[in-house]
Amino acid sequence: MQTSTSRWSIARTYALIFGVAYLGVALTEVVLGSSGLKLGGTTILEVTPVQNAIHWLVGVVVLGSFFAGDVAARNVARVIGIVFVLVTLLGVVARDLTGDLLGFDGPLPWSYNIVHAATAVFALIAGFAVTRVYGERAATA
């Protein structure tokens, strides 16, 4: 039990939202990605095997930590945050290398750096945030 007013901690909330988002993307890639997905005449989804594997991995681990409890969610958020900070830095200073690693035929698009940075920032907040209710420490598992 997290607090008297909240059933889920911030870390578990992060795990739920981002786990569902990553798994949703991964599943959509499998279902629709082989032939691409068009919306309004623009192809908005085209799967690459490396990315799809990463999306599955991140989604399963993060959403799994939601079901595993507060301690697991917090620890997973910390690891995800640190890993994605490194990936973001790599994507900024070595775009070609990062693009190759993630299966792109060229440099990593900037939009993906934004996605990595957002994932990292919110994971770090979820992993290292302290929740207090009316002055009482409540975030410990």
């Binding site: 007013t5 909240s6 981002f18 569902v20 908005i44 060229g106 993906y112």
Partner: protein, 206 residues
Amino acid sequence: MSVLGGARWSREVRAASLAPLALAAGVIHLSAAVEHRTESGMVAGALLALSVVQIGVGWALSRRPTAALVIASGVGSLAVVAAWAASRTVTVPFVEGTPEAIGLPDLVATGLGVALAAGAVAVVRRPSSGRYLPLIWGLAAGLVAMSLAGTPIRYPEHAVAHAEHGGAHLALHVGAIVGASAAFACVLAREIVAGRLLIGLAIRER
């Protein structure tokens, strides 16, 4: 009650939080008006008027979110969505070029309109619950991000690389994660404003 749905927000705060949806739709329609200015003066004028109204509604929602304004903005959004659907499916009298092809920006603007209408219903029907607020913010941010990521012209210096190397192909990914980020940020803001969350290092917490 969960972190996602447990916090209590005043009706005014939640009504004002609908403002970004109207503002974003207005900006997209303003962009569309500029694009149509050489093709059809009437369509460009209508889009310009619509954008002015939407931006005005967004401003009014942020400053004075009365129940009447919330209801009017919801009904008006649905009317705009209906007009868009008609322009994409049938020949509209006096409007050349209809039915038009569906484009990503107008899909996004339509999504924002639907979100605004849904948000208006939530504000009116559930005066003490902020359950859907993160979802509305997430949806709006995700749709706008998908539109930006899926439009290579927004990145002129990288347009070729963007198109050739799959930048547009990532639009769904970008929209999903930016949407998740916005939803989570909404939860964070709510918890911080409610005094239930302090941001600080917790390395030695356990």
